[in-house]
Amino acid sequence: MKELLLLSGLGILSLVAEIINARKLIYPLVIIGLFVNIGLCVGDLGTNETVYGMLKLDNSALAFTILSSLIALIWFIVAKNYFSDETNISDHFSLVLFSLVGVFLLASYTHLSMLFLGVEILSIPVYILAGSDKRNVYSNEAAFKYFLLGAFASGFLLLGIVFIYGGVGSFYIAQIAATSMLPYGLSEPLLIAGFLLILFALAFKMSAVPFHFWAPDVYTGAPTSITAYMSTLVKIGAVAGFYRLFVGVIAVYHNYNFFESYTTILLIIALLTIIIGNVIAATQTNIKRLLAYSSIGHAGFILLGISMIRPIVFYTVWYYLLAYCIANILAFWVLIIVEKQTQSENISAFNGLAKRNPILAGTMSVGLLSMAGIPPLGGFFAKYFVLLDVIGRGYMLIAVVVILISLIGVYYYFKIIIAMFAKEPAESSTLSVGSFTKLIMILVSVFLLIIGLMPDYFLNYFF
């Protein structure tokens, strides 16, 4: 409850700040607020607080909340430029914070209404943010496509929810789990259809493969800061939402026949996502688009992780998200800086970055290496945990395929690294960034290294 109040309070506060002419205050307040939020979550660990019976702040919920707050914190530092426009500053702040509320709800819901509201609260501000570069046709188009398809997907989400409701007679996850265990199969068709539809809808939000068509366009069209937001926090939200449903209903009774086949569908989606995301990413020359497809590939990995979840192993997804988001946001950070200076999103804009600013190149490399899954960065363990589950379930062939596909990932990430380190820059001037930015960049990179070196240290808090 405290977290919810804090986040929404911050959002409202940033609206109020506009009225009382305190725009300068918003930024530090938000940063402090997010820190406080992390603190509150850490303090709540183990309490299992329930809010009106609709939310349950168990450890996994808090873990996702902490993750989202952390990423949001970094994002706010990364996207500082995005908030430089004085006229709209409080709008942007409040929208971002409100969508964080959505993430929180998705991370902790125990009732399907909160799933639905969470998805919407998460999405609606992002629709707007995607179009926040109002006079840019690309941004418009991004917002527009994202909105139309998002609304379309929420229709499916709702249909799924209503089917489950019809089959169970309740929206509570615990009840759904209990009912789905019952032997008689009268309501089973409804349950199956419902779960499938919810899967499709959330797969859409996660940009998993048959539902991924929006992602590259939207990611490319939206302002780069917002793309960073979408590819990290929105994904956290969607994954957390799906994770809760899956763990709460399916993983608890994973021996039940129906859910095995459900897992199979999930597995197919995940595999397709990994393959298509990575293969198409390898053909891209626009970095935003490349990162978009790569994030599709990572979504596939996450889905694979979810589909393999067993009641005892809960942490893979969280850890994957942690590593992926930090790495991704680092890459976007550098992209934002480079894009601002060169006005280009092409790989060639990165030519010789190592000469122009070694810190930027280093940071980008750390991010990309982590996403490529090179130890000892966080991305390695993320993939490692997933693979462990996959092999543990006996899907050896899938593991082999996934590993081969991730080599493609190595290919396109290294394309950028080669450009940075081995190619000659188009212009020889150095690309300077503030010392504070440098410091944070190094800190975050080191953090990514540390979570790779000591994954247990972070996981033990929550799982």
Binding site: S94, I121, V168, S187
Partner: protein, 167 residues
Amino acid sequence: MYLSQYIFFFLSGLAIASALLMILDKNPVHSVLYLVVTFFAIAGHYLLLNAQFLAVVHIIVYAGAIMVLFLYVIMMLNLNKEIEPHKQQLPKVAAVVSACLLMLCLIAALKSAEVNMLPAARNSNIGLMDNLGKTLFKEYMLPFEVSSILFLSAMVGAVFLSKKEIH
């Protein structure tokens, strides 16, 4: 045949027919009006299901606010021209086929579905204001509060998007 069945078929026919007309009519204004008719048919179903409160709210929200907004935008942007000159047939066919497939799949899957009745069912007054209010403000307090955030963000967003930029 019972009276309720006649009513059901009438309303369903109306709803489906006008929904189809909505997507088939070239003129957006007509589409809006057909959709309004569909909404009225659905409201009729609500009444049939003894959910008067919801029926009225449905009319107020959908017919009274949302569709008016649509109409407003169509009129303001002058979209009544037929902007779809012609497009390739293939996507159209694909659209029809996939939608029909979806329908067939769902119907086939759910033809034997049965709702899971709670023991305390058969309370026909659930649609009444009192019961709804009690549920809303006791059990569903949090979603109620949270939806205010949703509204706030939608409001901020809509204002932000339609604000003219000052240069």
